[in-house]
Symmetry: C2
Subunit: 150 residues, 2 copies
Amino acid sequence: MSTNDEGFKIAVEEARKSLREGGIPIGACLVSADGKIIGQGHNARIQRNSAILHGEMSALESAGRLPASAYRGATMYTTLSPCDMCSGACILYKVARVVLGENNTFLGGEDYLRQRGIEVINLNHPECKDMMTDFIAKHPDDWFEDIGEC
Amino acid sequence: MSTNDEGFKIAVEEARKSLREGGIPIGACLVSADGKIIGQGHNARIQRNSAILHGEMSALESAGRLPASAYRGATMYTTLSPCDMCSGACILYKVARVVLGENNTFLGGEDYLRQRGIEVINLNHPECKDMMTDFIAKHPDDWFEDIGEC
Protein backbone atom coordinates (compact mmCIF):
# COMPACT_ATOMS: atom_id res chain seq x y z
CA MET A 1 0.00 0.00 0.00
CA SER A 2 1.47 3.34 -1.02
CA THR A 3 0.62 6.88 -1.98
CA ASN A 4 0.73 5.68 -5.59
CA ASP A 5 -2.31 3.42 -5.11
CA GLU A 6 -5.22 4.52 -7.29
CA GLY A 7 -7.55 4.41 -4.26
CA PHE A 8 -5.35 6.78 -2.28
CA LYS A 9 -5.00 9.18 -5.21
CA ILE A 10 -8.79 9.31 -5.51
CA ALA A 11 -9.17 9.91 -1.75
CA VAL A 12 -6.76 12.86 -1.97
CA GLU A 13 -8.56 14.22 -5.03
CA GLU A 14 -11.86 13.99 -3.12
CA ALA A 15 -10.31 15.96 -0.23
CA ARG A 16 -9.12 18.63 -2.65
CA LYS A 17 -12.57 18.74 -4.23
CA SER A 18 -14.19 19.28 -0.82
CA LEU A 19 -11.74 22.10 -0.11
CA ARG A 20 -12.59 23.76 -3.43
CA GLU A 21 -16.28 23.52 -2.47
CA GLY A 22 -15.58 25.28 0.84
CA GLY A 23 -15.84 22.06 2.81
CA ILE A 24 -13.67 20.08 5.20
CA PRO A 25 -10.80 18.56 3.16
CA ILE A 26 -11.20 14.86 3.92
CA GLY A 27 -11.72 12.31 1.16
CA ALA A 28 -12.07 8.56 0.94
CA CYS A 29 -12.23 5.75 -1.57
CA LEU A 30 -13.37 2.16 -1.13
CA VAL A 31 -11.55 -0.43 -3.24
CA SER A 32 -12.62 -4.07 -3.54
CA ALA A 33 -10.32 -7.05 -3.02
CA ASP A 34 -9.82 -7.30 -6.78
CA GLY A 35 -8.83 -3.64 -7.09
CA LYS A 36 -12.09 -2.18 -8.34
CA ILE A 37 -13.12 1.30 -7.16
CA ILE A 38 -16.53 0.71 -5.58
CA GLY A 39 -17.14 3.99 -3.80
CA GLN A 40 -15.64 7.42 -3.26
CA GLY A 41 -16.61 10.63 -1.54
CA HIS A 42 -15.67 13.45 0.77
CA ASN A 43 -16.75 15.14 3.94
CA ALA A 44 -19.99 17.01 3.29
CA ARG A 45 -20.77 18.59 6.66
CA ILE A 46 -20.65 22.09 5.26
CA GLN A 47 -21.81 21.37 1.70
CA ARG A 48 -24.83 19.26 2.70
CA ASN A 49 -25.45 20.37 6.27
CA SER A 50 -24.70 16.80 7.32
CA ALA A 51 -23.75 15.28 10.66
CA ILE A 52 -22.98 11.86 9.18
CA LEU A 53 -21.36 12.42 5.78
CA HIS A 54 -17.73 12.14 6.76
CA GLY A 55 -15.40 11.10 3.93
CA GLU A 56 -15.54 7.36 4.64
CA MET A 57 -19.31 7.45 5.12
CA SER A 58 -19.72 9.25 1.78
CA ALA A 59 -17.58 6.59 0.09
CA LEU A 60 -19.70 3.79 1.61
CA GLU A 61 -22.90 5.60 0.65
CA SER A 62 -21.76 6.15 -2.93
CA ALA A 63 -21.14 2.40 -3.24
CA GLY A 64 -24.86 1.85 -2.66
CA ARG A 65 -26.36 -1.40 -1.39
CA LEU A 66 -23.90 -4.26 -1.54
CA PRO A 67 -23.85 -7.80 -0.18
CA ALA A 68 -21.37 -8.53 2.62
CA SER A 69 -19.15 -10.37 0.16
CA ALA A 70 -18.44 -7.14 -1.74
CA TYR A 71 -16.56 -5.70 1.26
CA ARG A 72 -14.51 -8.83 1.89
CA GLY A 73 -10.83 -8.02 1.44
CA ALA A 74 -11.70 -4.40 0.61
CA THR A 75 -9.54 -1.41 1.47
CA MET A 76 -10.86 1.92 2.72
CA TYR A 77 -8.48 4.66 1.71
CA THR A 78 -8.97 7.88 3.63
CA THR A 79 -6.94 11.07 3.89
CA LEU A 80 -7.35 11.24 7.70
CA SER A 81 -7.41 8.81 10.63
CA PRO A 82 -11.07 7.64 10.80
CA CYS A 83 -13.24 8.90 13.68
CA ASP A 84 -15.22 6.51 15.89
CA MET A 85 -18.25 6.62 13.57
CA CYS A 86 -16.25 5.86 10.43
CA SER A 87 -14.19 3.22 12.23
CA GLY A 88 -17.44 1.59 13.35
CA ALA A 89 -18.73 1.63 9.78
CA CYS A 90 -15.54 -0.11 8.56
CA ILE A 91 -16.02 -2.70 11.31
CA LEU A 92 -19.71 -3.22 10.45
CA TYR A 93 -18.88 -3.98 6.84
CA LYS A 94 -15.68 -5.86 7.71
CA VAL A 95 -13.31 -4.16 5.32
CA ALA A 96 -9.87 -5.79 5.46
CA ARG A 97 -7.78 -2.67 5.88
CA VAL A 98 -7.84 1.07 6.34
CA VAL A 99 -5.09 3.07 4.61
CA LEU A 100 -4.94 6.61 5.94
CA GLY A 101 -3.14 9.76 4.87
CA GLU A 102 -2.18 11.01 8.31
CA ASN A 103 -3.04 11.02 12.00
CA ASN A 104 -1.17 14.10 13.17
CA THR A 105 -4.11 16.51 13.02
CA PHE A 106 -6.59 13.93 14.40
CA LEU A 107 -6.24 10.44 15.85
CA GLY A 108 -9.39 8.33 15.46
CA GLY A 109 -10.32 4.74 16.21
CA GLU A 110 -7.15 3.08 14.90
CA ASP A 111 -6.56 0.94 17.99
CA TYR A 112 -10.14 -0.32 17.96
CA LEU A 113 -9.93 -1.13 14.25
CA ARG A 114 -6.84 -3.25 14.95
CA GLN A 115 -8.56 -4.92 17.93
CA ARG A 116 -11.38 -5.89 15.59
CA GLY A 117 -8.98 -7.44 13.09
CA ILE A 118 -8.65 -4.62 10.57
CA GLU A 119 -5.18 -3.73 9.29
CA VAL A 120 -4.34 -0.02 9.60
CA ILE A 121 -1.62 1.60 7.49
CA ASN A 122 -0.57 5.24 7.89
CA LEU A 123 1.02 6.76 4.79
CA ASN A 124 2.11 9.99 6.54
CA HIS A 125 1.24 12.07 3.52
CA PRO A 126 2.42 15.72 3.65
CA GLU A 127 -0.42 17.15 1.51
CA CYS A 128 -3.08 15.50 3.72
CA LYS A 129 -1.47 17.04 6.82
CA ASP A 130 -1.11 20.45 5.17
CA MET A 131 -4.73 20.58 3.97
CA MET A 132 -6.08 19.75 7.44
CA THR A 133 -3.62 21.95 9.36
CA ASP A 134 -4.56 24.90 7.21
CA PHE A 135 -8.32 24.18 7.38
CA ILE A 136 -8.31 23.81 11.17
CA ALA A 137 -6.39 27.07 11.57
CA LYS A 138 -8.88 28.93 9.39
CA HIS A 139 -12.14 27.22 10.45
CA PRO A 140 -11.71 25.82 13.98
CA ASP A 141 -15.45 25.90 14.78
CA ASP A 142 -16.40 23.80 11.73
CA TRP A 143 -13.65 21.31 12.53
CA PHE A 144 -14.47 20.86 16.21
CA GLU A 145 -18.16 20.47 15.35
CA ASP A 146 -17.19 17.70 12.91
CA ILE A 147 -15.45 15.70 15.64
CA GLY A 148 -18.01 16.41 18.37
CA GLU A 149 -15.66 18.58 20.41
CA CYS A 150 -16.27 21.96 21.99
CA MET B 1 -36.09 5.55 31.18
CA SER B 2 -39.16 3.58 30.14
CA THR B 3 -41.29 2.57 27.19
CA ASN B 4 -43.47 5.56 28.05
CA ASP B 5 -40.72 8.04 27.22
CA GLU B 6 -41.70 10.27 24.31
CA GLY B 7 -38.36 9.52 22.61
CA PHE B 8 -38.97 5.79 22.75
CA LYS B 9 -42.52 6.13 21.45
CA ILE B 10 -41.22 8.13 18.48
CA ALA B 11 -38.50 5.53 17.80
CA VAL B 12 -41.13 2.77 17.71
CA GLU B 13 -43.38 4.87 15.47
CA GLU B 14 -40.43 5.40 13.10
CA ALA B 15 -39.85 1.61 12.99
CA ARG B 16 -43.54 1.05 12.17
CA LYS B 17 -43.33 3.74 9.48
CA SER B 18 -40.33 2.01 7.89
CA LEU B 19 -42.22 -1.29 7.92
CA ARG B 20 -45.20 0.33 6.20
CA GLU B 21 -42.82 1.67 3.56
CA GLY B 22 -41.48 -1.84 2.93
CA GLY B 23 -38.25 -1.14 4.81
CA ILE B 24 -36.37 -2.62 7.74
CA PRO B 25 -38.36 -1.84 10.92
CA ILE B 26 -35.79 0.00 13.01
CA GLY B 27 -36.41 3.51 14.26
CA ALA B 28 -34.56 6.00 16.44
CA CYS B 29 -35.02 9.33 18.16
CA LEU B 30 -32.41 11.68 19.62
CA VAL B 31 -33.52 13.64 22.70
CA SER B 32 -31.48 16.45 24.24
CA ALA B 33 -30.58 16.70 27.93
CA ASP B 34 -33.53 19.04 28.50
CA GLY B 35 -35.99 16.65 26.87
CA LYS B 36 -36.30 18.24 23.44
CA ILE B 37 -36.69 15.96 20.40
CA ILE B 38 -33.77 16.98 18.19
CA GLY B 39 -33.79 14.21 15.59
CA GLN B 40 -35.70 11.16 14.49
CA GLY B 41 -35.58 8.66 11.67
CA HIS B 42 -35.62 5.07 10.53
CA ASN B 43 -33.57 2.57 8.60
CA ALA B 44 -33.65 3.52 4.92
CA ARG B 45 -31.53 0.82 3.29
CA ILE B 46 -34.40 -0.35 1.13
CA GLN B 47 -36.25 2.94 0.72
CA ARG B 48 -33.19 5.02 -0.21
CA ASN B 49 -30.77 2.35 -1.42
CA SER B 50 -28.51 3.37 1.46
CA ALA B 51 -25.62 1.59 3.17
CA ILE B 52 -25.36 4.14 5.97
CA LEU B 53 -28.91 5.25 6.85
CA HIS B 54 -29.56 2.97 9.80
CA GLY B 55 -32.15 4.24 12.26
CA GLU B 56 -29.71 5.99 14.57
CA MET B 57 -27.80 7.51 11.64
CA SER B 58 -31.06 8.84 10.18
CA ALA B 59 -31.92 10.42 13.53
CA LEU B 60 -28.50 12.09 13.74
CA GLU B 61 -28.77 13.27 10.14
CA SER B 62 -32.25 14.69 10.66
CA ALA B 63 -30.90 16.76 13.57
CA GLY B 64 -28.61 18.55 11.09
CA ARG B 65 -25.42 20.33 12.05
CA LEU B 66 -25.14 20.89 15.79
CA PRO B 67 -22.38 22.01 18.12
CA ALA B 68 -20.91 19.37 20.44
CA SER B 69 -22.80 20.94 23.36
CA ALA B 70 -26.16 19.94 21.81
CA TYR B 71 -25.37 16.23 22.29
CA ARG B 72 -24.18 16.63 25.88
CA GLY B 73 -26.49 14.63 28.16
CA ALA B 74 -28.55 13.51 25.15
CA THR B 75 -30.29 10.14 24.85
CA MET B 76 -30.42 8.07 21.67
CA TYR B 77 -33.57 5.96 21.71
CA THR B 78 -33.48 3.10 19.24
CA THR B 79 -35.71 0.10 18.71
CA LEU B 80 -32.73 -2.28 18.27
CA SER B 81 -29.28 -2.75 19.78
CA PRO B 82 -27.03 -0.38 17.77
CA CYS B 83 -24.55 -1.89 15.29
CA ASP B 84 -20.85 -0.96 15.33
CA MET B 85 -21.40 1.98 12.95
CA CYS B 86 -24.26 3.46 14.98
CA SER B 87 -22.44 2.80 18.26
CA GLY B 88 -19.43 4.62 16.83
CA ALA B 89 -21.63 7.57 15.84
CA CYS B 90 -23.03 7.77 19.40
CA ILE B 91 -19.43 7.72 20.72
CA LEU B 92 -18.29 10.40 18.23
CA TYR B 93 -21.01 12.77 19.38
CA LYS B 94 -20.75 11.72 23.04
CA VAL B 95 -24.42 11.10 23.76
CA ALA B 96 -24.94 10.25 27.42
CA ARG B 97 -27.04 7.14 26.99
CA VAL B 98 -28.53 4.71 24.51
CA VAL B 99 -31.97 3.32 25.31
CA LEU B 100 -32.80 0.35 23.13
CA GLY B 101 -35.93 -1.67 22.47
CA GLU B 102 -34.34 -5.12 22.35
CA ASN B 103 -31.15 -7.07 21.69
CA ASN B 104 -32.60 -10.54 21.10
CA THR B 105 -32.65 -10.37 17.30
CA PHE B 106 -29.30 -8.55 17.09
CA LEU B 107 -26.61 -7.65 19.61
CA GLY B 108 -24.54 -4.64 18.59
CA GLY B 109 -21.80 -2.58 20.20
CA GLU B 110 -23.31 -2.34 23.69
CA ASP B 111 -20.14 -3.42 25.52
CA TYR B 112 -18.03 -0.91 23.60
CA LEU B 113 -20.54 1.88 24.31
CA ARG B 114 -20.24 1.11 28.04
CA GLN B 115 -16.44 1.00 27.81
CA ARG B 116 -16.54 4.47 26.29
CA GLY B 117 -18.69 5.79 29.14
CA ILE B 118 -22.14 5.66 27.56
CA GLU B 119 -25.00 4.26 29.62
CA VAL B 120 -26.96 1.49 27.87
CA ILE B 121 -30.51 0.58 28.88
CA ASN B 122 -32.45 -2.30 27.32
CA LEU B 123 -36.24 -1.96 27.57
CA ASN B 124 -36.96 -5.50 26.30
CA HIS B 125 -39.93 -4.30 24.29
CA PRO B 126 -42.14 -7.06 22.82
CA GLU B 127 -43.28 -5.11 19.74
CA CYS B 128 -39.68 -4.26 18.78
CA LYS B 129 -38.76 -7.96 18.99
CA ASP B 130 -41.83 -9.03 17.05
CA MET B 131 -41.30 -6.54 14.23
CA MET B 132 -37.68 -7.66 13.73
CA THR B 133 -38.34 -11.39 14.16
CA ASP B 134 -41.04 -11.23 11.53
CA PHE B 135 -38.98 -9.07 9.15
CA ILE B 136 -35.90 -11.31 9.38
CA ALA B 137 -38.02 -14.41 8.72
CA LYS B 138 -39.56 -12.81 5.63
CA HIS B 139 -36.54 -10.91 4.26
CA PRO B 140 -33.34 -12.60 5.47
CA ASP B 141 -31.21 -11.31 2.58
CA ASP B 142 -32.11 -7.66 3.23
CA TRP B 143 -31.41 -8.11 6.92
CA PHE B 144 -28.03 -9.82 6.58
CA GLU B 145 -26.96 -7.20 4.05
CA ASP B 146 -27.84 -4.51 6.59
CA ILE B 147 -25.50 -5.98 9.20
CA GLY B 148 -22.73 -6.92 6.76
CA GLU B 149 -23.22 -10.67 7.14
CA CYS B 150 -23.42 -13.33 4.47
